[in-house]
Symmetry: D2
Amino acid sequence: MSAPKKVVLAYSGGLDTSIILKWLQTEYRCEVVTFTADLGQGEELDPARKKAELLGIKPENIYIEDVREEFVRDFVFPMFRANALYEGLYLLGTSIARPLISKRLVEIAAETGADAVAHGATGKGNDQVRFELSAYALNPNIKVIAPWREWTLTSRTKLLEFAEANQIPIAKDKRGEAPFSVDANLLHTSSEGKVLENPADEAPDYVYQRTVHPEEAPDKPEMVEITFEKGDAVAIDGEAMGPSEILTLLNELGGKHGVGRLDLVENRFVGMKSRGIYETPGGTVLLEAHRGIEQITLDSGAGHLKDSIMPRYAELIYNGFWFSPEREMLQALIDKSQEHVSGTVRVKLFKGSARTVARWSEHSLYSEKHVTFEEDAGAYDQKDAEGFIRLNALRLKLIATRNARVKG
Amino acid sequence: MSAPKKVVLAYSGGLDTSIILKWLQTEYRCEVVTFTADLGQGEELDPARKKAELLGIKPENIYIEDVREEFVRDFVFPMFRANALYEGLYLLGTSIARPLISKRLVEIAAETGADAVAHGATGKGNDQVRFELSAYALNPNIKVIAPWREWTLTSRTKLLEFAEANQIPIAKDKRGEAPFSVDANLLHTSSEGKVLENPADEAPDYVYQRTVHPEEAPDKPEMVEITFEKGDAVAIDGEAMGPSEILTLLNELGGKHGVGRLDLVENRFVGMKSRGIYETPGGTVLLEAHRGIEQITLDSGAGHLKDSIMPRYAELIYNGFWFSPEREMLQALIDKSQEHVSGTVRVKLFKGSARTVARWSEHSLYSEKHVTFEEDAGAYDQKDAEGFIRLNALRLKLIATRNARVKG
Amino acid sequence: MSAPKKVVLAYSGGLDTSIILKWLQTEYRCEVVTFTADLGQGEELDPARKKAELLGIKPENIYIEDVREEFVRDFVFPMFRANALYEGLYLLGTSIARPLISKRLVEIAAETGADAVAHGATGKGNDQVRFELSAYALNPNIKVIAPWREWTLTSRTKLLEFAEANQIPIAKDKRGEAPFSVDANLLHTSSEGKVLENPADEAPDYVYQRTVHPEEAPDKPEMVEITFEKGDAVAIDGEAMGPSEILTLLNELGGKHGVGRLDLVENRFVGMKSRGIYETPGGTVLLEAHRGIEQITLDSGAGHLKDSIMPRYAELIYNGFWFSPEREMLQALIDKSQEHVSGTVRVKLFKGSARTVARWSEHSLYSEKHVTFEEDAGAYDQKDAEGFIRLNALRLKLIATRNARVKG
Amino acid sequence: MSAPKKVVLAYSGGLDTSIILKWLQTEYRCEVVTFTADLGQGEELDPARKKAELLGIKPENIYIEDVREEFVRDFVFPMFRANALYEGLYLLGTSIARPLISKRLVEIAAETGADAVAHGATGKGNDQVRFELSAYALNPNIKVIAPWREWTLTSRTKLLEFAEANQIPIAKDKRGEAPFSVDANLLHTSSEGKVLENPADEAPDYVYQRTVHPEEAPDKPEMVEITFEKGDAVAIDGEAMGPSEILTLLNELGGKHGVGRLDLVENRFVGMKSRGIYETPGGTVLLEAHRGIEQITLDSGAGHLKDSIMPRYAELIYNGFWFSPEREMLQALIDKSQEHVSGTVRVKLFKGSARTVARWSEHSLYSEKHVTFEEDAGAYDQKDAEGFIRLNALRLKLIATRNARVKG
């Protein structure tokens, strides 16, 4: 790979990406463009601009954008149509944000004539894979620079020395090492590393940031009604809202009731296991409600097919293959299933749990007439079950007859 | 089908199966053998014996058995090795009990020279299918009698008239109709019908029988440690126990903390949707713990394969195909995966939720050495990730290049 | 089910459906509408009109239609996009025609105010299921009459007596029983029953009707070039053609070279095994060519996903679920994959086989630059493979280390 | 990776691996152990011993073994139980041999105290992955040396110069470059590269080595009867034989009739497409026969489950994951299905094709009694089909009713 001339850096404004910014300038003597996105991580973006300016980035090379609406509408919601869970439990909060960032990095590279993009993910994790697969899928000729895999700043001490030597301001609380590492966006907060590294040790209380402790959550349950149209949430308690507004409100509600905590040991794509603490309050409520509305609007054929491909879909997103033909094929299948997934679900929030307690829809396939224990006025002929069972049993009988014969 | 001569009836001792007993005697003039099983449903079995005698069943034709150990060991535990959930949520508490009952019915038929078995499931539900597929798979020549699909006792009034006309004792509380229908065993209590038939109406509090209301559960969390060997729970809080003992204790613990409630609209095999309220306290804790121990002892290849076949496995059990070659093939796959699923998980129970907070094992694949944010002493070379990503990206780059070419 | 008033009958003009026609008139005293379709079965349709008139059907109630173009365009081609094979070998020639017939039956019922449809499939086969599932899916209130399951004409003798008693003309060659049963359309000819019923006996030569015996096929191979656009064949040897024209020509070519014979024992949906002799000359060539063009235009992610869902897709079509949400969802996935499946394949036909020998496309993903044994000018860095392998191996090493530890 | 001290080399005796042998000695100054396996590639092994001695390998460090029986029994046959085909067509002839070679390399390393193994696969192909994943899975601490990824001998000229400089004998016909590259073992011959690199060009006739041209094959078909026990072939034409004997004989028979040629463009695991010409005469006959016997001995539940997991199983073998938990889990599933896959199949060989024409078995599930067009004496009640269809249709009717309602 020849040396990059102009690099678009995914820049948070924090110490680590500021060091990367400087390192790119000194190592490659290249122009740096910074991209700072508001994904709902809950941090001010203004300081990022100031810091970028301080580090010599030209104003026209500083991109700061609120991408929350795009994030929820084009990434989070399509994924939730699938009820995606990685390894049965993880709501993919970090995984789903990476392709959007890469997409903007590659687009900004095109706008600014940059030939490379750079990110601050380490060589051990999944995020490097997600960033880079997305970037290459969108621009096969882009260069990707991953300083953590390249440089020699392999200890905290060296990093701080480099920062000091390069006049990078170091916040007081960054002198010492954080007791764990955090990633956050509108969908979730993820914490890992350091004090969390032993999966036999319970996570300390101070790790949780976005949800109250279930023990301290309100003593009274709270109900929330979520309305869906074609698989996407469109209203809360009867009030229509945009995607990011909905997720923001569900985060508030879920967080207040301690909903959405997960302590997980998962398998990284790069081959090792890691332990993460995830907080996904709004997403957990949303998944529960989406399942609730599918229960009455999807038939078994559609639902079981969705269930059967879901693990693969989730794995693709986890592994960084959002921009791949197979993810898009699965999305086409999933989206096709959502045409009638419209209606409203009531979810009860209480001390760490979110449970569907009622659901109704114009599109419901539930037929009280058929299922009732009462007289059904001929809706269903119980005699039909006899033939149904007999023909389902036929092959089993043939097997039993054969087995008796060959053993006999 | 020629008329049966001797029938083994799945007999609970309750009003409905007593009416069936009498009806078999009068309709077919056949000898009846009763089979009453203790599956952990929490009812005395002695009254069943007395009632059977009262209805003229010969003592040698009355089978009353405690099958709890067999139930948990040979049915529940193998199923839990798969983390089986039907339609994402249902723990299959009723489905998994039916094959065992059928197995005993068929075995008793062989012992007693009976040519038929009979059950009290209706023509609208899944249980008829489960009973009969199991029976036919185990004895292809057995006759199955399902009175609810045959007789003309199609209303409560007619049933009571028949009972009275035949001197069948009617408990006072059975005069009126129950507000919903219940099935119970050591794994769960299921309630459905009547007051539960509208999925838009919340289930009344009085429906729940096995779990305290989360609001009324203890204000302090409780920890429980479950130890597994080869995928099966073998000890609680360090004390070794047999399968049914373990499930009984977990039911107590889970029930006390309001764990394991589910309000679900599901797709029946016979083609309609139904709404059920399930309480599976011990099973919910066990599933959480089993996932927790798999997190550190199964690698991603094994785990993802299991996840991908789980929906099919659960569907087979739900639909009544326990005794089918494909269920046995999937079981072989699942059992193969459990060889190292041994270790201990700590689960926190609180106000309706059960969450893994710690897990450890001699068989752990978790490698702190590899995952650590600290120096890893060469366990992992971050440079490897570069080649890994590049080759994973290669096909995506080729696609992007092609797409640009054909559009260009 | 109340008695039908007006019935649309799938009418071939042959003896069996003529008997059905008369039986409907006499049994139900209902008006009969006949629908006779040219699906490419190679029979004149005019006699069907005359016979219908003879049996008293009003001219406006006689529907005779050439549906070959719709058949290939909307049913055969979409299915071939999936490379669908039932049980690894069967090209689904009969299965794919049934939904089209049902669709027209239901549409004609709507046009003519009929309340029922009828078909001539027996109660043992798959076709009854396919006809009826399609009909119910398109009109949930339609009545379906399946005379073979209802009437008492259960032997050849009784059928002929009924025909004679009702002045139904009997062709001389229909007096005796056919030695096997045939279904044909533009995609295939299927033969089964009678002389074919023992799968240990080779099928007699006279069973084959659409393909020459490979031994008698030309001694020289013949090449055919098939051009695809978005997964569908659009030209043969450079000449653009419509769907049914293409399949007709491929049938000629394939049939001449003895291509597309299959002797199969398959599993019917109704639970029994049956043995069929299939001749699918054009379809076999088309499948081979479609695979050939996908080889260079689909990447592995798309291709492997398609392969993994294909068996389920084929099973759905075989079982009669063409008009089901899950088939439509899978179709959406498959169609999405075909956007770049364009290009040309050369297939060699010879003595019973059809084999791809060359393929080329503007949309090719094949990169000689990458794969070459020669110098690749940096297209591919062999060092990348090292990291790729190491990270793929990481979990396997961790397993081996664990296994050694717990055994040690 | 520290320098290896003693290396076990997969040594063919050919020029390339002789160069590698010398290079290992000179580059790493390490002791070399050679392993030469007779996998049925059809070459004498004695010359390999002489050449190894000539290159200074100590007699006790020269391992020459006939592993054909192990190859077929423990690798080929288990794979054929699954009817494994990669990308629908490839019989995995090369893929399945690699794990065996790696297994012996690792075992010999343990026996001889070697700390490394080496292979002659390039950095572009799948074989490096297969060798190395297998080696690491069997010994996580083994070093793997892949000279083609390391050295600077990147052109034919440099290789020959190195050979001359090191007194490595060069056969006359190796001076020039081979027009394509070959891999062979008892299962197949694979050819790729050079003259085959353009998939739009037909493969020249001289590429084929193991099969006669179909045009030149005998003008009369030949029948072969293959007997299976539990999924494995055990006899040909009634004569019991061992695994490798069977495959050898089937190769002869198939090869004589031009059976088993395949021209394929496939997706390599490393991300690029390649074109290969495969000849798998015996394997093609075996696959056809195995399918034939499964047709009558496997029921649909078992067969369809097998079909659905086959692509994943094949992909695992292709990608080199033979020694992985997920392959072993799938094998457990497959093996479980084969308990009754016993019986005999007659296959007709003719001018490039192998087709099942008859099959019979004590374990057959085929029931002429059920399927017959004749009177079936009550084996099957056609009325049962009505209920079967109605309940299968129920959900489709509910969907149609819903869709009409919401559109109406």
